[in-house]
Symmetry: C2
Subunit: 244 residues, 2 copies
DNA sequence: CGTTGAGTTGACCATCGTCAACAGGAGTGG
DNA sequence: CCACTCCTGTTGACGATGGTCAACTCAACG
């Protein structure tokens, strides 16, 4: 069941490196940085470089030496692993506040692409590692994040292994709604900046099945497909299908 | 010098809390405890209780208050999540050296059952948490473990989402062979103490498909099904199917 | 306007699930 | 020792879910 091989545009981002201002950071309290006092924040701030990534550009590739970690502040990043024959599994979507650099040792364990325009704080791995050694509470925060990721990963296993296409799609939409809620407040409209192919590769389905399932849910008046997203019409029905 | 495996197999009855002797622990260097110096080990040793679990007994249940963490020293534990309607997804098998207590906050994120007889070191969560607060390098070690778990979880997502039944089974066998190798040395015979149902629930398949796939691999002379395990006959073929 | 790429829909099909029968081993009791 | 049940695992027949292939629409863009 080979999936359409992913063609990887290796566009270099126009690395605009602005002065970072953590105090004004919109996602600070959601991110790993929440562990830090304001004086410590200055230390981190000195190490951070704010980088904008253009849509469809690559942050890093699986198997590359992991020389940097990132804290996403704006936009959405797809994280994925490729099989030798081109089949792709998206292991997660990173949203503002998410930290990239947990599931890696010397080399990145997955690839990461900006979906739309993405802004992220970049830290050299070495510098970040040093500061973590000096601040146990930052390490603790990092560990909390890793633990949370592990939770999500295990929920995703249940999703991939034991749920039907309809349940997968509903669960995906509800899950994304809840994650957006933490960032920009509750809403019945779920923004879907990623392509159908991305959704399919996240849910272990094909693009056709995702499309058909969304159409069916729309026909059943459970959702309304709108440009770049869906509006949840029958929230109870969708939550029942998603039943975590 | 570190590895003088003690051959004394002492079978204790269920819930018999014996004196723990970390210095002799067969899996110490594989486990989180490897982070500790011998004097620190004594502190941990005082907190640990060695517990034996009879086959098919439960270590803890999903949603229960997480009042203890465990370090498996012998046997195999299945970790699983249940959906309300009874569908089950096994999120992992814990082997000697594995630590249970990463993917949890106040409540366990999954259930855990002993498959055969299991021996584990039990720590009260509070006491363990306190010692972690005092020993940053133990926290680091814990974080390394979490990171490793996350890696495995992401590989499992690729497995569940993008591999065929044959690839899943081959990958499972090769993966288990490699994990056993760390513990008891390399071998072409892979011990399978878990049931077919467990394998199915780990791979997102049914018991029938697992059975059929094993039979087919045996017919192809890639494996030989033996009591409580399989012998890998065509290792190259199996590794090709498993292609990580 | 033609081209391209994303998304939708339909027809068909294969992989894997469902249902059912059967085999073999362990335990029990006569 | 056999008869019986129970349990796990295997195998076969059949079917459904979701994949494959292809045609089509539509918007963006030259």
């Amino acid at each position: 069941m080979p999936n359409s091989p992913v063609k990887l545009e290796v566009r270099r981002s126009a690395c605009c490196q602005a002065k970072t201002n953590c105090a004004d950071c919109k996602v600070r309290l959601l991110s790993v940085c929440a562990a830090l006092e304001s004086d410590e924040l200055c230390v981190l701030e000195a190490l951070a470089k704010t980088i904008d990534f253009e849509p469809k550009t690559n942050l890093f590739m699986q198997e590359q030496p992991a020389d940097a970690v990132y804290n996403v502040t704006e936009g959405m990043v797809r994280l994925y692993k490729l099989l030798p024959d081109g089949r792709r599994q998206i292991v997660g979507f990173a949203l503002p506040g998410d930290f990239l650099g947990l599931a890696m040792d010397d080399h990145y364990g997955f690839s990461a692409d900006a979906i739309g325009t993405v802004t992220a704080c970049r830290f050299s791995r070495e510098a970040f590692s040093n500061i973590v050694d000096e601040k146990p509470h930052l390490l603790r925060r990092l560990h909390e994040f890793a633990t949370h990721e592990l939770h999500l990963a295990q929920d995703q296993m249940v999703m991939l292994g034991r749920r039907t296409a309809e349940e997968k799609v509903a669960s995906f939409l509800i899950g994304l709604r809840d994650r957006w809620a933490r960032i920009s407040g509750a809403s019945v409209t779920v923004s879907l900046p990623m392509s159908r192919q991305d959704i399919a590769d996240f849910l272990g389905l094909t693009i056709e099945t995702v499309s058909r399932t969304l159409s069916q849910l729309a026909r059943d008046k459970a959702i309304l497909v709108v440009p770049d997203g869906v509006r949840l019409m029958d929230v109870a029905r969708m939550e029942a299908l998603a039943q975590v």
